[in-house]
Structures are given as structure tokens and as C-alpha cells.
Symmetry: C2
Subunit: 656 residues, 2 copies
Amino acid sequence: MDTQQNLLNKTEITSTFWKRYRDLMANDSIPFQWDMINDNNDVEVTNDPFAAGGAADKSHAIANLKIAAGQMKGDFFGMDFQDTDVYKWLESAAYVLNYAPSAKLREQADSVVDLIADAQEDDGYLSTMFQIDMPERKFKRLQQSHELYSMGHYIEAGVAYYTVTHNEKALTIAKKMADCIDNHFGTEAGKIPGIPGHPEIELALARLYEVTHEQKYLDLATYFIKQRGKDPEFFNKQNKADGIDRDFFPGLGTIGNRYYFSDKPVTEQTDAHGHAVRVLYFCTGLAHVARLTNDQKLMDAANRLWKDIVKKQLYITGNVGQTTTGEAFTYDYDLPNDTDYGETCASVAMVFFAKQMLTTRMNGQYGDIIEKELFNGALSGIALDGKHHFYVNPLEADPKASHGNPGKNHINTRRSSWFACACCPSNITCLLASVDKYLYQETDDTILSDQFIANDTTFKNGVEIKLDSNYPWSGDLEYTITNPNNAKFNFGVRIPSWTLNAYEVTVNGKKVNPQLTDQILYLSIDEPTTTISVHFNMATHLVRTSTRVKDNIGKVAVQRGPVVYCAEEADNQSPLWLYELNKKPAFKYNYDQNLLDGVGTLETDDVQRLNENSASDDLYSFDEEPTAQQSHLTLIPYYAWANRDEGQMTVWLHQA
Amino acid sequence: MDTQQNLLNKTEITSTFWKRYRDLMANDSIPFQWDMINDNNDVEVTNDPFAAGGAADKSHAIANLKIAAGQMKGDFFGMDFQDTDVYKWLESAAYVLNYAPSAKLREQADSVVDLIADAQEDDGYLSTMFQIDMPERKFKRLQQSHELYSMGHYIEAGVAYYTVTHNEKALTIAKKMADCIDNHFGTEAGKIPGIPGHPEIELALARLYEVTHEQKYLDLATYFIKQRGKDPEFFNKQNKADGIDRDFFPGLGTIGNRYYFSDKPVTEQTDAHGHAVRVLYFCTGLAHVARLTNDQKLMDAANRLWKDIVKKQLYITGNVGQTTTGEAFTYDYDLPNDTDYGETCASVAMVFFAKQMLTTRMNGQYGDIIEKELFNGALSGIALDGKHHFYVNPLEADPKASHGNPGKNHINTRRSSWFACACCPSNITCLLASVDKYLYQETDDTILSDQFIANDTTFKNGVEIKLDSNYPWSGDLEYTITNPNNAKFNFGVRIPSWTLNAYEVTVNGKKVNPQLTDQILYLSIDEPTTTISVHFNMATHLVRTSTRVKDNIGKVAVQRGPVVYCAEEADNQSPLWLYELNKKPAFKYNYDQNLLDGVGTLETDDVQRLNENSASDDLYSFDEEPTAQQSHLTLIPYYAWANRDEGQMTVWLHQA
């Protein structure tokens, strides 16, 4: 199947948890972002002045397109890739229209497609910054230019919008862009043997190929995958020839090609390094192209990089990218909690990468990561109101530290409405609006239920699967499979790693106990109706990190089902670092409908709290053991933090 | 007494520990630095390419002076304050000449004085960068210019060199500089109501006053102390008027006056903030001027700032400055161990500040800090070979982190020969060569033995004090006081905070038990000969931090006598974070003459080591308690780390 496939199934999300988010996207997030990209004055914008991603109260993204289209006069404003804020809005709108048809939204989106078509040059080129400010420098400064990145994001949007709405113009623009790129790039004489500084075009071209089946698009995607790192000096040579005077990350000029993941061909890469989102977009394209071209060497590379990230560089929440310097990966087992970056876009990209891996090979580990992001690291990127966003998602936060220690001032403790670099808001809305894509994974003879979001889906073969559950709060899944044509197929259920040794399954009321294959339970279906009950043990887990990680020695995190918990100052006494969990704490779970739009909280009395020294005490004491008192700790889901009073938050807790 | 006073006593340092350092200064450090500032080609330079302070294999500092003096042609090279590398060498040379007379060194130093005199302008001005590159901009960009800082360092050197050698020219240069500054600065019409971006001139003028007794120098020092922060917009206005195009810390332009400690008058300041060395140089001048002018408001300010630093912002080693961003203080109780800065110069400046406080008021707390620096935080700034230096002194280091995580690449794990900003090497040699200044604190009727470095000192009144001890390895001090004139005076001994409840004193063989006053034990002396034995308990201490500090929860440090210990990879198994000390570990102390030029090590078997996870293990585990094995841990003094194979180091250890 291709990765657009699930958009073609008829899916209704019935999950209370996710219906709220889907409605939020349709009713709040997409309209808010429409106002932002159009610079509508009446939109209310609140920004952390030190926001990672940069504070901004205007976008000018639509205006840039209008200027490029000759519809208005003015100067280009914004990032090199400001256009992508419009494209990603359009992609989100496509997904929203798929589940919440709206004439008004359709009209807005169609008008955007028309505007983009007008702004696009005859040869297919579109990057308003270059068109307005420096047309003579097109494709001459690829390390920094984001031209291919921008067009890649449009191609994704165009493909999505065409798939949902059949707007042919949207697809035509995408094809024209791809043709333009195809005309300029390649190893043939007269072409630029280049690659983008920021990957994205690879995955976009692969998606375009899946819709158009035009081989040249797959060839071009393959070219970009294979060309990367072949000439590690490419960017330097281009920059020198261009006399480049802008650096996207000033001061990082000397970081070199490792930063751009272009230090060697991907078939020789063994670890994720450099800018996290760049690496992960590239990996998404890599896995996709590897599958489409059946290239084992590329697939091996994708597997190696997957394994490196998941086994050595992933935060428990699914966040990735350990340093603010260049928004980058650092090195294996380096997982600091209070200086991390964990860009929302990187978490979203982990979902993309995981989905491509899953599409190639059904294995529970990929869905584990998708689930981790959907309920934790990616989801924390957006506020419960759908209109405030984190660029950075720390595992530990303290407003005092963010304001007082410059090494931590990227750790914002308030979500912002918008950013100067506004990549994250539209990425998280794209993901949430398209969550139906991630429910099932299909092959000719198998349907895998990968994500346990309650839904009612009718597949092309006429099979209807209804999943009732109150996931993630409950671990009880009730599947009703209606198979009017008595089709014979395998039905798979991913068994999450957190319940691998504690789950029960009944089929039509009879307990079954099949062996798992790659963390997946398979059942043969050929009856007209099958009911399957799956029970996951929802016991609260204490999670520990490999002792290869310095920063979590002596600490535990708490997870229930797929949800990672955190302590927030709003529920507890600051400083949070004084709490020490007992060896085997018992937690009381309680779903509170009125808290944080409905969350399950965890509480425990099996915790002590160190007594806080007085300010008059000496900073250092000799041979005095700290004293503590029995205490009480309340935990909330990590994704829901920073939706109340500003304060400390920590995922990792000391254990006595 | 003034702070030059001890230079006038006749002191012989007999301590094995300190004699080694004093010889090292005379035989290795000062000749090495002479070669560096003269760019002698045969000097061997090794640099960490990522060294905080910047890597450098040349100085050009003498050359700049020669160019300014018209003795050679060429361009200015280096930092705005490159001249100070020469001045601080001269100051160190003065102190060395005081205990190790050398015709060759005297000749070199005299020639430097002659050169400086030639480079000085007729009106007394001297700053080679401005003289060579931009004479029209003198005193017009004080926030960044370091002109007053540079001249301040010369004044200190001139005063010291004059005091030791009676070279009048050295003092004349200093007075001409002070006169020049006096002519330009002040609130009178026609003068600049300015202050320096980097304090230093305040403490220098106070020292100059003590030698010359010219009131105008004290008045000028007082002016700079009181003027700071009076007009928080002064720098902005000057910069704007000058159209300044250089920023000493690019990117910090927006930090504002808090960074320069010029956000309000010092009488309103309550905490140390901004660039650590700037604050501490200012505080040194502040305490000095407060005493000289008997200004209680200024003294209150000095006390407030002292208390803030020592009770809220000081690392256990004495290092200060928690962030590399601007080499600055951050906020109270913020003491991260793996991203700290702890500039060597800041530790040296803490000694200066403490000495001024002690001179004003005899209290054991000041000597505690001087001792902390002399045996730990400042001393770690220089290698055992006297020719390699740390700019940054972390509490925890890991070469992998330094190279792999940009937020930690200021944490060098190798000392460098020299730096582009070479402030630290000459500051630490100045301190070590003048350690005799810190042994005693005198008033008319009292001699306080503040630092327990074995010595034989004859005071102006004819009293001779001989202190025999093997401090810091032994806590037994044997004083022999010869008092040929039967002078009547109080003899004080500071009782260090680490042995406050465990010391014994005998006078002429009889045990005495006088009450302490401000942590000082006082004895009346009037006999021709008195022998005093003091015994400090040298039990090894487990040190803990106030629970207001986040980063040391669950951790302990180990201290024996004044020496803070650390675990280094050279003696233990990496990663060091796997060691967990038992609740009450017993340490075996052993002095090893052949290790690290003679150090006392501490070893324990009361430690367990967590088993290291395999690389194939999952990064996160559910409900699995980590396993550990009984182990063995060897600790060395912190000051001696990084003198063997490069590896991890940590001061703070987990406790099980």
C-alpha cells in the first residue's frame, strides 16, 4: 500500500480523546492558522519573548505569495521557507476536509491553490524569497536556500489536497514543481549535481510518485537519496561560488557536512547526527524510496538509522534532538533532560519515518513509536486550545532556569501562538488532522490494527472494522469486524511493548493465545462477523533508562498505557526535585473529566519529600544526611503540561 | 594594613606542596609566558581546538607594545586587552623576584618596564589597540574597549614591581596612567561621566593609593565604584554615539546592563549577576574602597554580594560563573556541574575579594574561601607542569560530551598552553607567585594565621613565626613564635569550617580551649618564645549541597582537609556515573609521592557499581530494578585532574 492509502478508506474516528483533537483542528487550529498566514489583525497572539523558533506576531506568508504572483506590491518578509507555512496549512486543510467537510474551508483552500498557481513561475519554480529578492540566485545556494524544502512541502500538500478533493490544479502545481526540479538536478551534463540543505523533497517526490505513478518522480527522489554525501564538498563549493552572505544558523558555518547529514553517502551512515528534522525527513524519504525501488542497501541504511535513534537517542516521550545548537542530534546515549530540544517537528517526523518503516515491514516496534509520539512527544507540541505551540519539548522545565541560565533559555514554559520560524504549528496540525492514516496498515492479505484509537472504518474490500475503546485511558479494545463478502484475511493487532507480557485476547468470546510475530498478534478472519476483545494490562510502570545514559541514574519515569506522565508544579510543591519515589510506589489512577479537558491522573503517597534547606543555611554541609518527610505526588500526562499556571515540570523523578 | 603589606614581610615558604609550585612559577611558568608574549618560536604550544578562551599559538603582546612605541612596524593583533598579558606577566615576575631573585628575570622585567614607558603616550594613555588602530576612538566605547581594564592591570603590575624592586619608572608609568584617567573621567563638566565595561581600574587605583597615598587616586577609585549603575543608559548612549562595530560578545548585545553589572548603583545591588570576573574585580575594588573611605553603605553592598556568592552561587571547589554564555553568573542555587564555566580568573578574583573582606574584618569565612581556591578551584587552572591552563574548570567532564554536545564544548578535558583570550594563565601564576600575601592578616595588635602553608616569616615588629606542617595532607600545625622584644599581641588561628567541631590546640605543651570569635581562635602572646600546636581532624567528609540546588540531589562530594576530591577515569572504570557510594563509606587515605607530583588519594570499597547495559538492550525498561556489584573507587584531589590520560572526571558522586 502507499502512504496515502488510508485517506481513501472511509474512517470515522469515534475516540473521545481524538475526536476532541480532530474537532479542535477543524474549529480552532486551522482557522487560527488561516488568520495567522493572512495576517488578520483580529487574531490574538501571545508569545514567549525568548521562544525557541523566535517570537513573531505576523506571518506575511500569504502576502509573499501575492507579491510573487504580482497581486500586490511589497517586500518579502520572513524565513527562506516562509511559503511552507501556507503549504502545510493547505495540507492540514486537506486532512480536515476529509473528515469535516466545510464549504468555507474548501473555498479558502481552493483560493490558496489558485494563489500558489499564480505565484508559480512558468517553469514550475516557486520560492517567493528568491523570486522577490534574488531571482538570479535560484538553486545557487542550496545549503541554506530551502528552495527544494519549500517545493517539497508544497508537493506534499498538493498530493494530499488532490487526493481528498480531486482538485487537479493542486496536483498540476506539484507536478510542475517536480518537473522544474527534474530539469535542474541530476548528474547529467548541464544539471546541478546537488542536494538540498534541508531534506524534504525526497519524501515529497516519493508521495507524488505514488499518486501519479510517473517513474521520473521516483527516479528523482532516488537521485536525491543517493546523491547526498557523494560529494561532501558540494555545499562548500556552491557557497564559495555564490559568495553567500546569509547563514541560516550563524556561527555554525564551521560545523560542516556532518551537520547537514551530507558527510558521506547514506549507505555508509551509521548514526543520526546533525539537524534532527533534516535527518528524519531524509530517513522518511530513504525508507520510502528503498521500498519503492526494492533497494536492500538503502533499506539497510534506514534500519541502521532507525535502530540508532530508537535505541540510543530517543527521549522516553519520543522527543528527539538533544541540543538547541542547530536543533540537532548529539551522540549516542546523550539524553540531558533540562537542555534538550525535542523539536515538535522532529517528533512529527519520527511518525513519518516510523510509518514508512511499518509500511515496508509489519513489526510492532514501529507502531510503538508512532503511539509514543501521538500520546506524548508530538502531542505536547500543541496546547489544549489548539492555538498555542511548543517548538521545544523538554523533559524537565523550570521557569527560573529558562529565564536565568542562558543554556536553558530555549526551554520555554509557555506555548507560543506563533514563531518567526513557524514550522512546528502546521506540522503538528497536519499530523493530528491525518491521524486516521496511522490506524491501520494493510497488505493484500492483512489488515494490521496499529493504533488503538476508537474508530469505524470501511475498507475497499468491503470489510468494516469497528474499534470501541476508551484508549489511552483504558486498555480494553473491542473489535467488531463485519466481513459481508466472507473475505479471507489476517487481522493483526500490535501488542505494545509496555504490555508485551500482560495482555489477553478473546475471539468471539473464546480466549486465544496465539504466538506473536514481530510483536504482532495475527488472527485469521473469514467469518461474516468476528468480535475480538483485547485487554492490555494498564498497570502503572516505573520506567528506567539504560545505564549507558548519564542523566537518569537514580531516576524513574512513570508510564501508564502509552502515556508518559510528569509532575507539574500546578499539582505539587516546588521545587519538584525534592520528591523521591519509594522503591515500589503504588499509584492511584483517576480519570478527571474536568481537568485538562479530561485526563487520567496518577497519585501516590509512596513518596518522600526532602526538606528544603533554609536560605540562611550554608550551601555545603559536612556529613549531614538530608531529612525528608512522607509526601504525596500527583502526576499528569506529559502531553498536557503547561496548560495551567506557569511552573516547573519534570518527567524523571528521583527514587529513594 | 594594606594589601601590599605582606610583600614587605620577610617570608620563606617552606611547605613542600607550595615550594614545588613556587619553583614551578620561577623555573617554568614565568619563562614559558615570557616566550609566549614574545612569540619566541621555540616554545611548544598545545591547544584544545575548542578551548574556551579560544585556541592560540601566538600572542603578539610585546609586539603590539613595540609597534605603539615606534620600535617596530606592523599591525595590532589580538584582543582589545592584549597588553594585559604583558602586565600580568610583569606582576607575576615581581612576585617571583621577591622570593627567587634572578638577574636575568630582573633584566627582562626592567626591559618590559622600559618598553611600556616608551609605548605610553605623553598624557599617560596606553592601550595599544586604540593607539595603533583607532586613536580617534579612545574612551569613546567604554563598554567594549577594555582601556581602563588594561591600564588597571598595568597599575597593579607597576605597584607590585615598584614595591618589590623599587623601580621608580614602573610606578611613574602607573601614576601617569591614573592621572590620564583622572583628567578624562568624572562628573565635572568636560569630563566623561563614564565607567569601564570591565571593572579592574577600581581595585588598581585603590592599590596605587596605598603605595602613593595620593588622595586623588582614592577619589577616582571611589568615583568608579559609585558611578557604576548611576546612569544605566551610559553604555548605550556611548555606543550609539560611536557607531560601535565590534562587540566583545557578539550576540549578547541585547543582554543589557545587568550583564555589565551596571543596571543600578552597587548600593542597590543584591546579587552577583553578569560576567563573573567583572563582578568580582568590581567587588574587590568595592570592598577595598569601602574600607579606605570607611563607607558603611559600600561595605554593606560588599557584604551582600559576598553572601550571595558564597551562600548561593559558589561551587564546592570555589569555582564561580555557571554559564559559558558571557562567562557569567546565572541565578541563586543554579549550580549545574556539566555545563558550568568556573573561569580560572573568577576563582583568582574570589581570592582577591576575600582578602579585601578579611582585611576589613577578621573572620574565618574569608580564609575558608581563600583556602578553597588555593587548593581547588583556582589551582585546577594550571597543570602540574606549570605550562598548561584551564580557562574553564568544570565539576564534571566527559570528552565525549565535550566533543559531541555543543552545549558542553566549553568543557575542555585537556589544558591548553595558551588562549586567544589569555587572561587565565597569567592570573593564576600571579596568584601562586604571591601566595605569601595570603598567609597572615595583621592589625596593630593582632597577627592572624589565615592560611596554613608552612612558612618562616619575620614581621616588621621583629616577631618571627615559623609554621611547620605538611598541610594540606596533614592537619598538624606547629607554630614557633619568637618574640625577642616581648611584644604583646594577639595571635589568631583561623579554624576552617570543615573542622569547626574537631580541633585541638596546645600552647607550650598545655591544652587550651578558648572560645572562637568569628571562627578564629585567639591567643595572647607576650613571651619570648611560644610554641603552639594545632590539630585539625583530617577525617574524610561527605559533603552535600543545600537541597535548594537541583543538580546535586542524591549526590555527595568527598573532602579531606581543604582538598575537594574527584573521581577520574585514569583511576576508575568509565562511565563514572555508574558508581554509587554507600551511605557511610570508609575511605583509606594514602599519600603517594610518585603520583601527580605527590598527592593524597582516597580509596574505598564501600561503593557499588551499576551494571552497564548492553548496547543491544532497549533504551527503556519497565519495572526492572538496576543491578549493581560491589566495587572500588579511587579519588584524587580535584586540582590535579587532567594531568594524565584524557577521560571523564566527576566531583559529585551518586550515593546509593
